[in-house]
C-alpha cells in the first residue's frame, strides 16, 4: 500500500469524484450560508419594540405626540427667572446650586421657547427607532412610560429626527412649523430652560411650591409611571413630572454657576458630562427640587434617566 495513489483504479477514481463533489458541496454551502447570514455579521440592534398603538391622549398620526393644539409643547414666555438656590429659603440646597461667590441666586433672561409637557415616551422614541434603519434600537417598556436607557446622543438624535419630521408634515401645528422654518430646533433643553420651565419666575423650590408633599410627583416610589399621571395644574406652566419619575438630560455641560452658555467652549477638552435635572422615582424629596443639578455621562444608558424636548431659538 503506497502513501499516495499513483494509479487511478476505477474505485479510486469514483471515490475521488465523490470526494470532489463533496468538497464542492461544502464550498457552495459555506458561500450560501455566509451570504444568508451576512446581516447577522452586523451589530444586532433588533429588540421587541413596544406595540405601535397610541396610549389615550396621544396621536398615532403625529409620532405618538400628545393630542393637543401644540402636540404637547407648551410655550415658555421670554423673560428673566430666578436660578439657583438660596439656602436661607431652601435648607435642602446643595453647594453647586449657589450662583457665585457673591450671590446665592442669579436672574438669567431667556428668549421664548417651547418645552414638552411630558417626558418623551417609549412609544414616541420607538417611532424614531423604527425609522432609524437599525441604527437605534427600539426600547422595551410600557408605551406611555418615559423612555429610559437612551444615551445623550440618542436623545439628541431623536430631537433632530422629530424636528425634521415636524418641519415637513401637515400634522404639525402652524405655530410650530413657523418657528421651525425660522431656524428653531427641536433639541434638549439647556439647564436654564429646564429650570425656568420647572419653577417659573418666582423661584419655587418644587414646581408646585415649597411643600414637597403638595405636588403630584413620583419620587421615592421605586417605579416608573405613565407620563400622563404626572399632571400638575398648580405648576406654573402645567408641566408634568418636572420633579421625579425620571432624571431629565439637558444640553448643558456641567460647570460651576453662574450659568453662561458662552463658557461651554471652555469645556471642549474636558471629559463630557452633562447636567440632568428633576430627580427620579428612586430619589428622595431633596433630589427632586427644581434647582437640583445632577450630571450624566453622555454614554450612559440608565433606567432612571430620560429626557424631554424643547423647541428652541438658535
Amino acid at each position: 500500500m503506497s502513501a499516495a495513489p499513483t494509479e487511478a483504479s476505477a474505485p479510486a477514481t469514483n471515490s475521488r469524484r465523490t470526494g470532489f463533489i463533496l468538497l464542492t458541496l461544502i464550498v457552495v454551502f459555506v458561500f450560501f450560508w455566509l451570504y444568508r447570514n451576512a446581516p447577522l455579521a452586523e451589530p444586532d440592534l433588533e429588540m421587541d419594540a413596544a406595540p405601535m398603538s397610541a396610549a389615550d391622549g396621544f396621536r398615532v398620526d403625529a409620532w405618538m405626540l400628545p393630542d393637543d393644539a401644540l402636540l404637547g409643547f407648551v410655550e415658555i414666555p421670554a423673560g428673566a427667572f430666578v436660578m439657583g438656590s438660596n439656602p436661607l429659603q431652601d435648607p435642602m440646597a446643595y453647594e453647586n446650586e449657589r450662583w457665585s461667590a457673591s450671590r446665592r441666586q442669579g436672574n438669567p433672561i431667556l428668549p421664548a421657547y417651547y418645552i414638552g409637557r411630558y417626558e418623551v415616551t417609549v412609544a414616541q422614541f420607538n417611532v424614531f427607532a423604527a425609522q432609524s434603519g437599525g441604527s437605534t434600537a427600539p426600547r422595551e417598556g410600557e408605551a406611555a412610560h418615559p423612555v429610559t436607557g437612551a444615551s445623550w446622543p440618542e436623545a439628541l438624535a431623536y430631537g433632530r429626527w422629530l424636528g425634521e419630521q415636524m418641519r415637513i408634515s401637515p400634522a404639525t401645528p402652524q405655530t410650530i412649523r413657523d418657528v421651525l422654518d425660522s431656524g428653531w430646533a427641536v433639541t434638549l433643553p439647556s439647564e436654564a430652560q429646564w429650570e425656568k420651565a420647572a419653577r417659573g419666575t418666582d423661584g419655587r423650590i418644587f414646581p408646585w411650591g415649597a411643600d414637597p408633599g403638595a405636588g403630584n410627583a413620583n419620587f421615592g416610589s421605586g417605579e416608573l409611571r405613565e407620563v400622563t399621571e404626572g399632571a400638575c395644574p398648580q405648576c406654573t406652566y402645567g408641566l408634568a413630572d418636572m420633579a421625579g419619575n425620571v432624571w431629565e438630560m439637558t444640553s448643558s455641560p456641567l460647570q460651576s454657576y453662574p450659568f453662561d452658555p458662552a463658557a461651554n467652549e471652555a469645556t471642549l477638552e474636558q471629559d463630557a458630562l452633562f447636567v440632568m435635572r428633576g430627580g427620579s422615582f428612586a430619589d428622595a424629596a431633596n433630589n427632586v427640587r427644581a434647582a437640583v443639578r445632577g450630571a450624566v455621562d453622555p454614554g450612559v444608558r440608565n433606567p432612571g434617566i430620560g429626557f424631554r424636548l424643547v423647541i428652541s431659538p438658535p
Binding site: 499516495a4 471515490s15 468538497l23 455579521a41 446622543p153 433632530r160 463630557a272
Partner: protein
C-alpha cells in the same frame, strides 16, 4: 504497520477526545461551540460506523503506519512557539487553546477516515499539526460560528486528498492544504462581507502586541529555513516586499503599508504559510521566483482589496493558492533558462545543504540591515498620525485615505478623538465627500466616549470643534507595537507623543 479491526480505535479515540473536550468550560460556555464539537464527534463516529460496516463485509481492515516526519513536528514546534509568544501578549490566543485541541482531534479523525475511504493506509504522525496551526495563525471563526472552523479544516484535508495533479511523474496535491482552506474561506468571507464572523482582523493586527515580533519570527523562521531549505522562498518574498515598500516610499513620500515595511502577519505568512516544500517549486531559481511572486502578490492584493473595500489582511492568504497553481509553470520556465551558467556561478558545485546555509547567511545579512535601518521592530514612520495629517495636507498619494483608515481603526478601538476627527472630515467634506449622516454617527460615538467637542459638534450643526487628543486618546494612539500605555505616567506619555510629532504635546513637555 498496524492492520486490523483494532485500528478503528484511532478515529474512535479522536471522536472520544472531542466528547471529552465538550466537558471543558471553554466548550461549554457557548452553546454553538458545544454543538459544533458534539456535531464533529458525531460526524466522525457516523463515518467510522459506515466504514466499519464496509470493512466487516469486505473482511479486510485498513492499516495505520507511524511516520514521524521532521517537516511536520519541527514546523509544529515553531508554530507552537509563535502561539505561545503571541498569546502571552494577546489573551484570546490562550483562550483558544481548548478549541485548538478540538480541531486537532477532529483533524486526526477526519484525515484517518479520509485516507481509509481512499483505500490507503493512514500515516500517523504529526501531519495535521502544521495544517491546523497554519490555519489558526491566520483565521478562526468567532464562538457563535465555530462550526465553520470544522468545515474549513475538512475543506483543507479534502483539497489535499482530491485536488491533485501529476507533477514530475508523481500524483501530488496541488495546493498547500492550509492555504487552500484559508483561500477558499477568505474568498467566501470577502464576497459575502462577513469578515466580522471571524477573528481575522484582530489576528492580523495583534501580532505586533508581542514586542520584537519581527526578530522573533525571523529567528523562528531560521529554524525552518535550516531544516527544510525554504530560505529562497521566504527570503526572496521578504526582500521583494522590503524593496517594493522602499521604492513606493521613495516615489510617493508615504509608506505603502500603514505601520510597517512588511506587516507582521505577512512576515509570519512568508515564513510559515507559503513555504510548504511539496507545493512550491523544486529548483533554486524557481523557489526564488516563487518568493518574489508571493511578495508581488501580497503587494498587489493589498491595494486591490483596499480598492474594493475588502479587509486588506486577506492579501497574504489569497495569493498562496494562486501561486500553487503556477508551480509547474514556474519550474518549467526556470528550467528553460541556462541560469546555472551565470546566476549560480558563485556556488557552483555546492551541495543543496551548503547552498541553503549560504542563502541563510545572505538573508540574515538582509534582515540585520533592515533592522539596523529601522525597518522591522523599530518605530515606523506610518505609526505617527501627525505624519499622515501632514501628508494629507500636502496631498501626497493616498495619504488622506490612509489617515481616514488609521483614524477609523483608532475609533473602533474607542478613541473618542479619532471618532470626532472622522466626524469632522465628513462634516467638512474636504478630504472625503461631505455626509451628514456619517458625521453625526461618528460624533455620536465620540460623544458617548466622552468627547465634549463631539457632543458640541452634535449640538451645533455648523460647528467643527477639533481639539487635540486627550490623555486617554494618547494612550491608544501611541501604542505603536501594541504596548499597554494605560499606566504610563503623564510626563512620559507626553514625551512619547512629542516623539510622534504631536506638537501640542511638545509644547506641554517644554512647559
Amino acid at each position: 504497520m498496524v492492520k486490523g479491526e483494532k485500528v478503528l480505535a484511532l478515529p474512535g479515540a479522536a471522536a472520544g477526545g472531542l466528547l471529552l473536550l465538550s466537558l471543558t468550560g471553554r466548550v461549554q460556555e457557548n452553546p454553538v461551540i458545544l454543538a459544533s464539537t458534539l456535531g464533529a464527534a458525531a460526524a466522525l463516529l457516523l463515518w467510522l460506523g459506515w466504514q466499519w460496516i464496509g470493512y466487516r463485509r469486505g473482511g479486510e481492515y485498513p492499516g495505520v503506519r507511524i511516520l514521524l516526519r521532521p517537516q511536520h513536528y519541527v514546523q509544529a514546534l515553531v508554530q507552537s512557539s509563535v502561539f505561545l509568544y503571541w498569546g502571552y501578549y494577546w489573551s484570546p490566543v490562550y483562550d483558544h487553546f481548548w478549541l485548538l485541541g478540538a480541531q486537532l482531534l477532529f483533524a486526526y479523525g477526519f484525515d484517518t477516515l479520509l485516507a481509509w475511504s481512499r483505500r490507503r493506509e493512514y500515516l500517523l504522525g504529526f501531519g495535521p499539526f502544521p495544517i491546523i496551526f497554519s490555519i489558526n495563525l491566520f483565521l478562526w471563526f468567532r464562538d457563535d460560528w465555530f462550526y465553520l472552523q470544522f468545515l474549513m479544516l475538512a475543506a483543507g484535508f479534502m483539497g489535499k486528498e482530491y485536488v491533485r495533479w501529476t507533477r514530475e511523474g508523481r500524483n501530488v496535491h496541488i495546493f498547500n492544504p492550509s492555504a487552500f482552506a484559508l483561500g477558499l474561506f477568505s474568498l467566501a468571507l470577502i464576497v459575502t462581507g462577513t469578515t466580522q464572523l471571524t477573528w481575522g482582523q484582530e489576528i492580523a493586527s495583534t501580532l505586533t502586541l508581542a514586542p520584537n515580533i519581527y526578530a522573533f519570527l525571523f529567528l523562528a523562521g531560521l529554524v525552518v529555513m535550516y531544516f527544510f531549505s525554504i530560505t529562497l522562498v521566504a527570503g526572496m518574498a521578504a526582500i521583494s516586499l522590503f524593496a517594493m515598500s522602499a521604492l513606493y516610499f521613495a516615489l510617493t513620500g508615504v509608506p505603502y503599508f500603514i505601520d510597517s515595511e512588511i506587516p507582521a502577519a505577512v512576515f509570519l505568512g512568508l515564513h510559515l504559510l507559503v513555504t510548504d516544500p511539496s507545493t512550491s517549486p523544486r529548483t533554486p531559481l524557481g523557489k526564488a521566483l516563487f518568493g518574489v511572486l508571493y511578495g508581488l502578490g501580497v503587494f498587489g492584493l493589498y491595494t486591490l482589496l483596499g480598492a474594493f473595500g475588502a479587509p486588506t489582511f486577506y492579501d497574504k492568504l489569497l495569493c498562496v493558492p494562486l501561486l500553487n497553481l503556477c508551480v509547474i509553470a514556474i519550474d518549467r520556465t526556470v528550467k528553460s533558462i541556462p541560469y546555472e551558467s551565470w546566476a549560480m556561478m558563485w556556488k557552483r558545485g555546492w551541495n543543496p545543504a551548503r547552498a541553503n546555509v549560504a542563502h541563510m547567511a545572505l538573508w540574515i545579512a538582509v534582515f540585520a540591515g533592515a533592522s539596523f535601518a529601522g525597518k522591522t521592530d523599530s518605530r515606523h514612520t506610518g505609526d505617527s498620525i501627525p505624519f499622515w495629517q501632514q501628508a494629507c495636507a500636502e496631498s501626497l498619494p493616498g495619504a488622506c485615505g490612509r489617515l481616514m483608515q488609521l483614524q477609523a481603526t483608532y475609533c473602533s478601538d474607542n478613541s473618542a478623538w479619532a471618532c470626532n476627527e472622522i466626524g469632522a472630515h465628513y462634516r467638512e467634506g474636504r478630504i472625503v465627500a461631505a455626509d451628514t449622516e456619517l458625521s453625526l454617527g461618528f460624533f455620536s460615538r465620540a460623544c458617548e466616549l466622552k468627547s465634549m467637542a463631539a457632543c458640541q459638534n452634535l449640538l451645533q450643526a455648523d460647528a467643527v470643534y477639533r481639539p487635540p487628543p486627550g490623555d486617554l486618546d494618547l494612550r491608544l494612539l501611541l501604542r505603536e507595537g501594541g504596548l499597554n500605555l494605560l499606566e504610563l505616567p503623564l510626563t512620559d506619555l507626553y514625551r512619547r507623543a512629542c516623539e510622534h510629532d504631536w506638537q501640542f504635546a511638545c509644547a506641554t513637555v517644554r512647559s
